[in-house]
């Protein structure tokens, strides 16, 4: 359970993520997807409940840790609204992603991979991040999170403010990174059709609760409840 001040946003949500999976959190605005992600990242403190990370069979509690220590454990967030450092260059933004000690030795290799995956960024390394278009900024944000060499990549609403063609590209890139580096991905997204393209499983959130859990993309797409309540068809 979690919320902001007196406002309860999440009510008994249970979500789990297996290694190597892409799990999507679906749901319209205001249903608690971002709050759940903020809890995971230590940006919002849940009033009840726990967040557990299991590494090599050893379970570790993330609840109560600072955001920086959670990121340091290999969980990277591409935040909603991108949150780039606008007055720093693309390259500086990316190198900041590699700040955590575990990511530093591989920074040159990862940087090269980023420029390979996002060729548009290679030409714009020296450009200030704040002066780029929304789509390019989203690419920088994803690349920056990737630079921290994460095991788990968490992406919050990557499609916000992007053109449909850009949304498609960005979602595909997330999948590309995941496949190339064996990441585990948790993505919150409103764009149902784009999100389930890359999803192994998904949760549909309605009013701070998990309304439906889909064990695969087809189950999400074909479910009557989802069609009615979420897609409105």
């Amino acid at each position: 359970m979690a919320g902001y001040g007196a406002a309860r946003v999440l009510h008994g949500v249970t979500v789990h993520l297996e290694q190597g999976e892409t799990v999507v959190l679906l749901g319209a605005n205001g249903n608690g997807k971002s709050t759940l992600i903020n809890c995971l990242m230590g940006l919002v403190r849940p009033s009840q409940g726990t967040i557990l990370l299991e590494v090599n069979g050893v379970s570790q509690e993330l609840t109560g840790l600072s955001t920086e220590s959670i990121v340091d454990m290999g969980i990277a967030l591409v935040p909603e609204g991108r949150r780039l450092f606008p007055n720093l260059t693309v390259r500086e933004n990316l190198l900041l992603g590699a700040y955590r000690l575990a990511a530093r030795p591989a920074r040159a290799k990862n940087l090269e991979f980023c420029f390979h995956a996002f060729p548009a960024l290679a030409d714009r390394q020296k450009q200030l991040a704040g002066s780029m278009s929304g789509g390019e900024q989203q690419m920088v944000a994803i690349a920056r999170a990737f630079m921290s060499a994460p095991k788990i990549l968490v992406v919050d609403e990557p499609s916000v403010g992007l053109s449909p063609i850009m949304v498609k590209q960005v979602i595909s890139k997330i999948d590309e990174l995941k496949v190339a580096h064996g990441l585990t991905v948790l993505m919150a997204e409103q764009n149902f059709n784009q999100a389930i393209r890359i999803a192994d499983r998904g949760y549909v959130m309605v009013q701070g609760q998990v309304a439906f859990e889909g064990m695969d993309a087809a189950e999400l797409r074909d479910n009557d409840f989802v069609r009615k309540a979420y897609l409105g068809v």
């Binding site: 990242m41 955001t67 920086e68 990121v71 935040p79 949150r83 700040y99 955590r100």
Partner: protein, 290 residues
């Protein structure tokens, strides 16, 4: 012909002066420009640097510039502790820059009074072999007491710039004031980074103070003359830009030197505020503002 040489001499000594100004301003560029901490007491910390160099010079016969460098770790540690106090008492309790400003204004007077208690109000000076010597070519003569601080200030400026742009900690310092949450998402503890950055800002005051007392005698309240200059340079350079700080400091140095040569030294203080007003009116983001 005479005018021409006078002009050239004034420009050259202005450049030397400006280089020194960069060393005084660079700490403010970090604290004010990059951390949003309005450290109006920075020139007072520079004066502490002067007295530290004076003490080492008069007591141990140490070269003032060398002692300015040797005291850097002490100033770094002092600045880091100082930031902790500021963070706990002001920053962590909400964003009210005005209260922080009042705090630093008070610190400035506390430092002045402590220096007066310890050293008295008289001017103090240091001794070194190069003070009093000149280098020259033809009609150009440059005093070594200006050349040595200029070179030391250049090395300091390039060193800080290299550190900020090439190291992980340096990049974190440049990012920390832009987005606190995004910084945490880079696995960076913002308070820790600000503490290091403020330590570095105060560390530069150690060397700048030593350079100041090489250039001329120092008394406890002398820092006040530099408040206008350092803020003018930090703003004109483009808040937070180290190369901008150097260029702005050189511009101010030359402008002050030309004004002093052709209109009289009493006009020199007006130059910094004139430049500050001009910068705010014409290019508020500064020369190198991003």
């Amino acid at each position: 012909m005479f005018e021409h040489q006078l002009f050239l001499n004034a420009v050259l000594s202005g450049l030397l002066l400006g280089g020194f100004y960069a060393s005084v301003s660079i700490g403010l560029t970090i604290s004010f420009g990059q951390l949003n901490i309005v450290n109006i007491a920075h020139p007072a910390f520079v004066i502490v640097g002067s007295y530290a160099a004076y003490t080492a010079n008069s007591g141990l016969g140490l070269d003032p510039i060398v002692s300015g460098i040797l005291f850097m770790p002490v100033f770094f540690a002092g600045g880091a502790v100082f930031y902790r106090v500021y963070h706990v008492c002001f920053e962590a309790r909400g964003d009210d820059p005005l209260r922080g400003l009042a705090f630093f204004f008070g610190i400035m007077f506390v430092i002045e009074v402590l220096l007066i208690i310890a050293y008295g109000v008289d001017y103090r000076l240091v001794e070194a072999a190069y003070i009093g010597e000149t280098v020259g070519y033809g009609a150009i003569t440059l005093p070594l007491r200006m050349v040595a601080p200029f070179l030391a200030a250049l090395i300091l400026t390039f060193g800080i710039q290299l550190f900020l742009s090439k190291t992980f900690t340096g990049r974190a310092i440049m990012a920390v004031a832009q987005d606190q949450i995004a910084v945490q998402l880079m696995a960076i503890n913002p308070t820790y980074i600000k503490q290091i950055a403020f330590g570095i800002a105060i560390m530069t005051a150690s060397l700048a103070g030593a350079l100041l007392i090489v250039i001329g005698p120092v008394e406890p309240s002398m820092g006040r003359q530099y408040i206008g200059r350092v803020f003018a340079i930090a703003v004109l350079g483009g808040m937070g830009s180290i190369p901008g700080t150097l260029v702005a400091a050189l511009i101010l140095g030359v402008a002050e030197s030309l004004t002093a040569t052709f209109y009289g030294p009493s006009w020199a203080p007006a130059v910094s505020f004139g430049l500050l007003l001009g910068a705010l009116a014409l290019r508020p983001q500064g020369l190198f503002g991003r």
